[in-house]
Structure formats: structure tokens, C-alpha cells
């Protein structure tokens, strides 16, 4: 997957994720206040593979990395799992 496609796909998902977090402050509150959110699509495995490769670099930078997994369902739902170094 080229960078342009990766960026475009992540931008689409980022908008959905942000709307979800803003409308669910009770979930947002559970995340670290300075979280780096690595997005994982419900359907696009290729995107998930390239996004997974972003994690080691973020951990090296000392970021609080959290995987944001989109859940395939009618409603916009996400699951979050923190990643430790």
C-alpha cells in the first residue's frame, strides 16, 4: 500500500474515530490524556498491517500508544487497547 492511500484511508477512519470519542467522553476519559491512537480498520487488513508497523517508532519516541480498533457493526463503535513498550 502506498503512503497516499494509507493516509487517505486513515483520514477517513480518523474522522469517524474523533466523532466517536467526542460523543463518548466517558470512553475518551479512560484513555491517557496524551494518547497516540493507531487506527485499525474493521475490514481493511492491508491497512492494519501497515498501521501496525507504525507502533514501534511511536513507542521509541516514548508515546502512550493505544490501538483503536474499529468494530464492524451498524453503529460507529471502537475498542481501545494500550500498547506497552
Amino acid at each position: 500500500m502506498d503512503k497516499k492511500t494509507q493516509a487517505e484511508k486513515n483520514l477517513q477512519l480518523m474522522e469517524k474515530l474523533t466523532k466517536f470519542l467526542l460523543s463518548h467522553p466517558e470512553i475518551d476519559k479512560q484513555l491517557p490524556v496524551d494518547a497516540s491512537l493507531v487506527i485499525l480498520s474493521a475490514e481493511d487488513k492491508t491497512l492494519n498491517e501497515v498501521n501496525d508497523k507504525l507502533i514501534p517508532g511511536l513507542l521509541e519516541e516514548g508515546k502512550h500508544v493505544v490501538k483503536a480498533q474499529e468494530i464492524k457493526s451498524d453503529t460507529n463503535k471502537w475498542e481501545f487497547s494500550p500498547i506497552s513498550a
Binding site: 503512503k3 493516509a7 487517505e8 486513515n10 483520514l11 480518523m14 474523533t18 467522553p25 491512537l37
Partner: protein
């Protein structure tokens, strides 16, 4: 006893000195009240930062101040598109609501740090949450155009993947 002392002090001090003293006391009272209020606000405001990597060399970051008691966004501190160029992260474009309205800062080029500041075509009405959603939506829609324009202004065209 205390009131007698106060009377004596009042007599000793001339009228103007007494006025100055009262004014100073009033100012100090106001200052203390302001400091207390600011402390109270600081205790209820939480700064939240979310960084979302798009690729190894592109990321979106948004930072906002949330009122913990009301769960409402009080300020957009930053919504930015950053690119990894020449071994460091560079903010190409960002939004904030520092002056009470949403506006855009665009970095001129890689070598020139000066920014274009604009509030044109940016909603000036609505809640902070709506502004945040709008800014993210704008970066999503115009990401490639913003990136390409910056690379062109920096004479970096053709060096990107």
C-alpha cells in the same frame, strides 16, 4: 480596643493616605479573588491531546481543553497536520481558537517559519466541539492539497514518495 486603634490610625493618616490604603486593600482583595477563581478553573479543566499517525511521515494532532464537570470543550488549543521532513516533525497547518474564534495558521515553507493566519471560510459560529470536528474534517478533505502546496512553496516538489 481594636476600634480605638483604628480611630487613632485614621486620625494620624491624612485623608488621601487613607484613601490610598483602602484602594490597595481593595486591589489585593480583587487579586486574591481572581487567583482563587483561576485556580478553581484550572482544577476543572483537563487538557486532552490525541495524536493520530497517518503514515510514517504524516500525522494529525489535536489538543483541546475539556471542562471536567460539564464534559464540554472549552478551547481548541491545536488541530494540526505535521509532516516528518529532514529528520524532524514540522507543523504545516494548524487551527486554534485562542482568541475566541477558530482560525488557521499555515507555515510558509520549510526555510521560512512565518505563517499565514486566516479565518476566511472558517465557521465563526457554533460550539467548540463543532469547531474541532470542522477543523478535522477540513484537514481530512484538503490534506493532499495542503501538503502539496507546502512542498511546492518549499521547493520540495518531487522529493516526496
Amino acid at each position: 480596643m481594636r476600634s480605638r486603634k483604628f480611630f487613632l490610625v485614621s486620625v494620624i493618616l491624612s485623608n488621601s493616605t487613607y484613601d490610598i490604603l483602602l484602594s490597595c486593600m481593595e486591589k489585593r482583595k480583587k487579586r486574591n479573588y481572581k487567583a482563587k477563581q483561576q485556580k478553581k478553573i484550572a482544577q476543572t479543566i483537563l487538557t486532552v491531546s490525541r495524536e493520530i499517525p497517518l503514515t510514517e511521515t504524516d500525522r494529525i494532532t489535536y489538543v483541546y481543553a475539556r471542562d471536567k464537570t460539564e464534559d464540554a470543550i472549552r478551547e481548541i488549543i491545536n488541530v494540526s497536520y505535521d509532516a516528518w521532513i529532514e529528520k524532524s516533525w514540522l507543523t504545516i497547518l494548524r487551527y486554534d481558537s485562542t482568541h475566541g474564534y477558530l482560525h488557521q495558521h499555515t507555515r510558509f515553507s520549510l526555510t521560512q517559519e512565518k505563517e499565514f493566519i486566516s479565518k476566511e471560510h472558517i465557521p465563526q459560529e457554533g460550539s467548540h466541539q463543532e469547531w474541532l470536528t470542522w477543523a478535522i474534517g477540513d484537514i481530512k478533505t484538503n490534506f493532499l492539497a495542503y501538503r502539496q502546496a507546502f512542498f511546492n512553496r518549499s521547493d520540495l516538489y518531487g522529493t516526496e514518495e
